[in-house]
């Protein structure tokens, strides 16, 4: 018996010379130069700066220097606001998307709601802060309405637009639509057959959700939540326009530091920015990993 070695297993594939020369990569050169100069290098500069002392030697002092009560509390409040707005955004956005796709509502709702979500998720920054000041601020529409018609004083109840909850409620305006936009395809991907199969096997509605639909959607939901977290953690404009500098959160602190070195040590600013990259980086890694997992079901 003769044995024929299969060519693509034993002998390495012959690569033509032209394919081995990286000439094709030259087409990417403009793009690579641009992102290197204006995205990667500036970021690397900050990251390296976070680990460099004033005389240029390597040090952990800057990162350790972040451990002051004021900076610690800035990170803590930022993380709390991002967590609150991300989880509430997820919850409400999911409820609305589920109502739209599975709730048996007229089809006419879908298009306008998705369009509106596209608009609202882009309506961030300074104007968003103005809109909420005009609504929930001291003489805003809702504040005045509640006071004169229902006798409810929001301020007496402990609500202040320039506070933790004020910022969270404002961020929800772009968080909820983003959730709707991202989760709707996942909800559309739930196959009718799965529900029918579950029902034939005797599952009730809640059982179907708990044991079939939710486990399938879970990575998508959690992943989107990580994205929303990063989204609000890096938001600068809304926070500054809303609160000025009265709320001690990381983006505002960093903004003030870049403007006028309020921390008294330029390298502490690098460390502060580095901390932001770490937090949003972790959140986005979670998003990417979980998205890959959730896409398994959408093939």
């Amino acid at each position: 018996m003769t044995f024929q070695p299969s060519p693509d297993v034993d002998t390495p594939r012959r690569v033509p010379l032209k394919e081995r020369l990286p000439l094709d990569w030259l087409g990417l050169a403009p793009f690579l130069v641009f992102v290197t100069l204006f995205l990667l290098a500036p970021t690397m500069y900050i990251v390296v700066g976070a680990f460099r002392s004033v005389d240029g030697s390597f040090t952990f002092d800057n990162v350790i220097g972040l451990n002051t009560p004021s900076i610690r509390s800035a990170y803590w409040i930022s993380i709390k606001i991002s967590l609150a707005s991300a989880s509430l955004g997820c919850l409400i956005g999911f409820a609305m998307a589920a109502a739209m796709t599975l709730g048996g509502l007229p089809k006419a709702i879908r298009g306008p709601l998705l369009t509106f979500s596209g608009v609202a998720s882009n309506f961030a920054g300074v104007p968003l802060a103005f809109a909420f000041l005009a609504t929930l601020g001291p003489i805003g529409l809702v504040t005045v309405f509640l006071k004169t018609n229902l006798g409810l004083d929001l301020r007496m109840l402990g609500f202040n637009i320039l506070s933790f909850w004020g910022l969270t409620v404002t961020y929800l305006f772009f968080q909820i639509p983003l959730m709707i936009l991202i989760i709707t395809p996942a909800l559309d991907g739930l196959k009718r057959e799965w529900r029918e199969a579950a029902e034939i096997l005797g599952a009730t509605g809640p059982q179907y959700w708990r044991m079939v639909a939710f486990p399938i959607l879970f990575p998508a939901i959690l992943g989107t939540m990580a994205l929303l977290f990063a989204n609000s953690f890096g938001a600068v404009a809304t926070a500054i326009a809303l609160t000025g500098s009265s709320l001690n959160i990381v983006p505002i602190l960093l903004f003030a530091q870049i403007r006028g070195d309020v921390l008294g040590d330029p390298h502490l600013g690098y460390a502060l920015a580095f901390g932001m990259i770490v937090v949003t980086g972790i959140a986005n890694t979670i998003y990417i990993v979980l998205r890959a997992r959730s896409e398994r079901w959408q093939k």
């Binding site: 709730g103 809109a131 529409l141 909820i176 990259i277």
Partner: protein, 262 residues
């Protein structure tokens, strides 16, 4: 039961979204005591600072879009045609601006391109404008690249290129007269997102000290009561117009006869 809770969820959401829009609109009309009027709008529109900053931002948006198209279309085309292996890498890089907060990027710009560096862009007003445009181009990169790449998916890049080449077309002709018209709808939708982003952008413009619309709005918000609400209404109108134009363009687009699957 289920339909009821579905309606409840939608109604709650609508209430949450409509109230701030109603609030800002109502507030913007309240400048004159006792009656609704457009005084706040008249005041804003007549403000020379408004006109300056707004036209500055529109100009910046136009340049950003032109630069973005020139950068992204050839890159996305080349990746599809010659370097499909590089696609995950390029896609990852284009998504990075969503990961790295804009404030960190601009912080890096200020340190990397200051007057004592090898490329002193922040030394002159023109240089800073160019730097800001590059900054905006990075901010819009995720949206622009995705839009164009999705557009390229619907055409058969390889066949079109070979057909053009056998008729004697060079790369510039192929890109300008073949690829660009074919992905025009995608390019336009990326362009409108870019416009919406650039017009209201605050962080980069403020930290680079350029007279853009975002910092102007913030300044006005810190000093005035009714004008900011009017500005918010205008800004919302612009965002809405941009998104509406995207939908309109997508609807007017000729559907490809045979969509090519990825």
């Amino acid at each position: 039961m289920m339909r009821l809770s579905a309606w409840a969820a939608i109604a709650f959401g609508m209430l949450y979204f409509l109230l701030p829009l109603l609030g800002m609109t109502e507030f913007s009309l309240k400048m004159r005591r006792g009656v609704y009027s457009f005084d706040a709008y008249a005041k804003v529109l007549a403000d020379p600072r408004f006109q300056e900053t707004f036209s500055y931002s529109v100009m910046m948006a136009v340049f950003t879009i032109v630069f973005g198209v020139l950068l992204v279309v050839p890159t996305a085309y080349w990746v599809r045609l010659k370097l499909p292996r590089a696609r995950p890498f390029v896609e990852f890089v284009t998504l990075l601006p969503l990961v790295i907060p804009a404030i960190v990027v601009v912080f890096g710009y200020i340190r990397l391109f200051n007057t004592s560096s090898w490329l002193p862009l922040t030394g002159t007003a023109m240089g800073t404008n160019i730097l800001l445009m590059f900054g905006y181009a990075t901010l819009s990169l995720p949206y622009m690249y995705r839009a164009v790449d999705t557009g390229l998916r619907t055409i058969d890049v390889t066949t079109l290129t070979e057909a053009a080449q056998s008729l004697g077309a060079g790369w510039v002709t192929i890109l300008g007269r073949l690829i660009l018209p074919n992905v025009l709808v995608a390019v336009l939708s990326g362009a409108f997102v870019t416009l919406a982003i650039v017009i209201g952008e605050f962080t980069m413009a403020a930290l680079l000290n350029r007279p853009a619309f975002g910092p102007y709005m913030q300044l006005l918000g810190a000093n005035r009561a009714y004008e900011p609400a009017a500005l918010a209404v205008i800004a919302f109108g612009i965002t809405w117009a941009c998104m509406g134009l995207i939908q309109l363009v997508a609807r007017l687009a000729p559907k490809p006869a045979t969509p090519v699957k990825d």
